[in-house]
């Protein structure tokens, strides 16, 4: 069984149908790039998959646990960084990660925090409160809390949004290092990120999956990815 199994997910906000009959599955070792225009339903799909929102219909299964039926077990296997990488701004980076580790019931939280600070290159800002960090560091803090328990499933909503090229490179490098052992979904508006980072592409528009294929096939659709994107999402 794949680490992520999504079938026939539906979600409406009032009259807006944000997610329509979305199905896909992700295996260990895959890094899926979630593409789609603004308002396509990428974030909403992630919120359903992580158990933050309840689907109107359909199921999401993470590491064998249905996120609605068995939310705590599913969430224990899941790392998630929501859009904008929210964090408790008044805490220091170390305190924040420590809290995440304790809440997850990790054995030896201090060691986990130290390892994660190192992995995400956050050591020099460990004592700084999250509110005072530059955007690059802030996004990495969001990433750090998502990987502190080395989860089997990693879901990142625009983890490289607004980062400078060096910071983007850094995040991708860390992600690539761990990807072989995980099922990863990354949403992005940066089409070049597909070639750099992903093994597979899912394009969503108006709440529907428009295309779900390997990176190689996707890149063969045309030389100008912007045009490919426009055609798929029209």
């Amino acid at each position: 069984m794949a680490l992520i199994e999504v079938s026939h997910l539906e979600k409406s906000y009032g009259a807006i149908r944000a997610v329509k009959n979305v199905s896909f599955s992700v295996d260990r070792g895959e890094v899926v790039g979630f593409l789609g225009p603004n308002g396509a339903g990428k974030s909403t799909t992630m919120k359903l998959l992580t158990g933050y929102l309840r689907p109107d219909a359909g199921t999401a299964v993470v590491a064998g646990f249905d996120v609605v039926e068995n939310p705590v077990a599913a969430k224990a296997h899941l790392g998630y960084s929501p859009e904008g990488a929210p964090a408790y701004g008044e805490m220091t980076v170390r305190e924040f990660l420590r809290f995440a580790a304790e809440l997850r019931g990790l054995t030896d939280p201090a060691q986990r925090v130290a390892d994660t600070l190192k992995l995400c290159r956050l050591e020099e800002v460990a004592g700084q409160s999250v509110d005072t960090l530059s955007k690059g560091y802030r996004m990495r803090v969001g990433f750090a809390q998502a990987v502190i328990h080395d989860p089997a499933v990693l879901i990142l909503d625009e983890p490289t949004d607004g980062l400078d090229p060096n910071q983007k490179f850094e995040v991708r490098r860390i992600l690539k290092d761990m990807a072989a052992r995980k099922a990863v979904i990354v949403s992005t508006h940066i089409l070049e990120e597909i070639a750099e980072l992903c093994t597979r592409v899912i394009v969503i528009a108006q709440g529907e999956v428009r295309c779900d294929e390997s990176k190689e096939r996707f890149l063969q659709r045309g030389d100008d990815l912007n045009q490919v994107f426009r055609k798929l999402t029209a």
Partner: protein, 253 residues
Amino acid sequence: MTHNPDSPTPRPGAAFWAVLRREFAGYFRTPLAYVFLAVFNAFAISLAFFVGNIYEAGVASLDRFFLYHPWLWAFLAPAAGARLWAEERRQGTIELLLTWPVTVWQAALGKFFAAWLFLGSALLITLPMAFTVCYLGDPDVGVIVSGYVGSFLCAGACLGIAAIASALTRSQVIAFVTGFLACFVLVLVGYGVFDELLSGAFATGTVEEIRRLGLWRNLEPFTLGLIDLRPTAYFLTVAFAGLGLSTLIVERR
């Protein structure tokens, strides 16, 4: 780091304590907490001395001190409780908290008790004054203890209401104002002016029944040294109904 395919499902208690500790420490991360503690103590003590005339009353008892506590809690419990959920929504961290392996109930209990303990610590700081009054007059430790228990329970009731207000909005200001207004109504029920209004409109028995829904009528027996079942149940019911309802609101999101 090595991959651990059996990521532990945390013990429920671990999450509760982690949330409680974070939230309690959170109050002291901002200077607001110290302002809060100072305001509470300044008002608690000056109201007792200047408005309540604690000395001229001739009895060195503390019922004049506790008389104003419903007012203080009506103001300060929503002030401390406003951040419970509103701040999580504003910062977007609610999406983290609720996608970490905890139930909404564990998080809600941790938050609620942290806030209640914070209010309790404001109350504790007034203890030296209580002992001074006791020392100057005829000490009745039992009355002091029951008064403090009653005040603490009253704080919990106001916090329950504040929690509902906080669960409904992402603005701490709105949470505070609505929480305060709701508590304010419960303070007014059973107070002089409001009583007269009621007496004009209802029969005496009905007025007494309505009074019993107010904070003061329930705190009063505590200030006389009585820890009765009925007022205790009243405060705890309001506190836990508020906790439960606010949790359901967050769970539905």
